[in-house]
Symmetry: C2
């Protein structure tokens, strides 16, 4: 393992609220730049039967999911932790809520709503001015058990990037058959 030490040492970052806010602030603009001017062919999966839709999310589905998470997951869970009430268990997060909630909304609307809500949520996070002691406070995840506020906020950041990655993948796969023999060089097209 010695050979890996320089990588691990330099690439792993310690959690930091200000650094986290850099990523959280960048996400709406990133998705707006990526998706804002694309034809619907790239961004939706209308017509796919519901069961498969739940497996293979379109960019449209993913933005609805990010919006729902900003509404019901990160800040509400942080509030449960910081509130120190009798029950520190989080409300389970519905990972499929966007299939109902987004109905009738355009992608542009979802991107706008997400951007607005994210700005609000970052304002709340910033105003908390969290101390290390607060970041160490725990809540209870319904499946994962005890987790700290620090882990919740780090997960918010990585969750954003996870879905930026998923948007890129969802778009790229539409051209899977078109790249011909280059497919083997493009890891985004591997199953």
């Amino acid at each position: 393992m010695t050979a890996l030490a320089p990588f691990v040492e330099i690439i792993c970052m310690e959690f930091n609220v200000a650094r986290s806010i850099e990523i959280l602030s960048a996400t709406p603009g990133t998705l707006q730049s990526l998706l804002g001017n694309l034809s619907e062919e790239w961004t939706t999966s209308s017509g796919i039967e519901a069961k498969r839709k739940a497996e293979i999310w379109s960019p449209y589905d993913i933005i609805g999911h990010l919006l729902h998470a900003d509404e019901t997951d990160w800040i509400p869970r942080a509030r449960i932790i910081l509130g120190r009430g009798d029950d520190l268990t989080f409300v389970p997060f519905d990972r499929f809520a966007q299939f109902e909630n987004s109905k009738g909304k355009s992608l542009a609307q979802l991107l706008d709503e997400f951007g607005r809500l994210r700005t609000e949520n970052i304002g709340i996070l910033r105003a908390w001015n969290l101390t290390d002691a607060q970041l160490d406070l725990e809540g209870v995840h319904p499946e994962l058990g005890r987790v700290t506020l620090r882990q919740l906020l780090a997960t918010w950041v990585v969750h954003d990037l996870n879905h930026v990655r998923q948007v890129a993948t969802s778009i790229a796969k539409r051209y899977e058959a078109e790249v011909g023999p280059w497919k083997e060089y493009l890891s985004i097209l591997s199953p």
Copy 2:
């Protein structure tokens, strides 16, 4: 396989120059939004020994790679195909050139250069007004053999998305240890 048919049918898109330009145009702004305001901790891997650097690219390395590809790969190769000269074999692409070429440049400079060059290249592509017959023309890839102009241009699009995805992954992995038990839910952190 019948159950998969609706997905394949709807999600696979046929190659189209205008649709491709939508993605190619979006990439520089996407990367600017994602990376433009991040601390260097998120974007570089300075100090990593060269051998591992070649394996694990930082966002900084990836932007240098995209810039180099716009300089030496897509349009130059399309010119070889469209030129119909005696030798239709592409010049091999150096996938590690950025480690030399980017030296002394800031990430902001690389992002600017990439954005400018991409705008130029899209202008060239648009002005060609390619016909289906031209898109069917072939060149010879040094490793993959005969490929069409259509496949080359589709690969340009997917290559962009592949590296947007890689940038997101490179950033996310820096918080791998910080998310605690949530790691199992975040596919971006799987090896």
